[in-house]
Amino acid sequence: MKRWLVMGLAFMLLAVPSLGSANPNGVGDGTFDTQCGGACHGDADMNQTSSTTVTVQGDDVVYEGLLTSITVNLEGIETTTSGLLGVFLLSDLSGTRDTPGDAGWNIISNSEGGNENYVEIKVSPSQDSRNVTWTMRAPAVGTYQLYAAIHHGTEDGSEAPFFGQSEAPLIIEIVEVPENLPRLTSDFDPITQREVGEVTTMMIETTFVSAVSVEWRVAGSDVQTADITALENNRWSFEVPASIQPSLIEWRVHLEGEGPPQTTPWFQLRSEEVAWTIDENVAYLQSLALILVMMAGFVALQYRNDSSISPSNKELADLEGGVE
């Protein structure tokens, strides 16, 4: 009994560094308050300040209910050897109910292919700066602030938690929409993800619009113009060409009508390889089945031979007692 207790204790002590460590592989994208920036690494008071410079960029004036893009710019990036870096977009830094959604914003997409306020990005060792962009629908008329924050580990693998935030918020004035402003319909929800090799047909619906043109670009390259087809009832369509590898394509729409011409923010369309998925419960159950069937099969096999052992051998076995 005492022997098993010591062995169990030794095993627990060996496992503690693994189970009690932070999340060196990240926690995945999600909707998180900034407090999680500390909580995911343990006590927020243990955080050290990241040397990365974080700034939030976007339009100063945005129409109520229309789309706008907010970019978080990271300079002098410091992170772990794996390059994992968590980036938050926040409405304040109070640590509770501080996501953009809590302030009335509606996140349509982000440049990593999701629609959450927290994304985890991989930064290559030679990369010194990086942008992460969110496309959001503006809340009701008023003045709003948006902040950004980051968290990461260290390059030396000590897993010391680092936290950084924007020096100053981006202040945005939300104003009422002029009656005849050319715009996308209020329920427009762009496609943000697709598979590699797939041509995407985008459908857009507009209000107070007489002419539409679309531009697209692969991140960091020249802007191309897409052929647009006018459908009935203020609907338009265009095709985004297939990508041959995982990549990010950005596109935006120029809208013309009676009111002042408008240009939408850049929308992001991320191409991903077809994800390999499996039901983990089925895999774990099969794993258990393999353990039991191999054990039972071998014991049964040896038991079958047991009857043919001579008495003298059995006596020998009793004498030896076997491996305890």
């Binding site: 353990i291 040896q302 076995a317």
Partner: protein, 186 residues
């Protein structure tokens, strides 16, 4: 604090090293029990080394599995190589437990009978081989290459059974163990 990745390397080296030693000792024990020249005298030593090394490898294996899951990138097991690693290590774990249980119940006499000593040697060696194959997959996953690459093994294929079949196999295995236990007590 030691990261999961570092701990995984330590745990896998303990596991693979123990199993490699066990596999070699099982081979030598098998040869000794078959009367190979000048090895008979060392049968008892080979027997003890083989089973002790196997038992130690089994103790280290759960730590290797836990730290491996913790240190793998992304959420959970989302790659065919990781699933195959899980299956191979599970098969090895089960087989090694069977080998140890058989040795415990029958003692050193297991090396006396023609068939039992062959099965014991094979069981121990196959359990070790499965762990080495698991380690090879680990190398393919983390570094893109391994020593066993020249076999061109289909690591990307996952032989997944439906849940009901796994349950059926578990029930059958448990019944089998109970039946063997009752028979041995009778």
């Amino acid at each position: 604090m030691v990261s999961s990745g570092t701990l995984h390397v330590v745990a896998t080296e303990m596991t693979v090293g123990s199993f490699a030693m066990a596999g070699t000792a099982f081979l030598l024990a098998g040869l000794a029990s078959h009367g190979v020249t000048r090895l008979e005298a060392y049968l008892k030593h080979f027997d003890h080394i083989a089973h002790f090394a196997l038992a130690f490898g089994l103790l280290a294996m759960p730590l290797a599995i836990f730290s491996g899951i913790q240190s793998s990138p992304g959420d959970g097991i989302d790659h065919p190589l990781l699933i195959n690693k899980l299956f191979l290590s599970s098969a090895s774990l089960g087989l090694a437990l069977g080998v140890l249980l058989a040795r415990r119940s029958r003692g050193v006499a297991i090396w006396e009978h023609t068939m039992s000593k062959r099965w014991q040697m094979l069981g121990g060696m196959v359990a070790s081989g499965l762990i080495l194959l698991t380690a090879s997959i680990g190398g393919t996953f983390s570094r893109g290459e391994s020593l066993l690459d020249f076999f061109h093994l289909p690591y990307d294929m996952v032989p997944l059974m439906p849940m009901w079949l796994s349950l059926l196999v578990i029930i059958g295995a448990v019944l089998n163990l109970v039946a063997v236990r009752r028979s041995s007590n009778a």
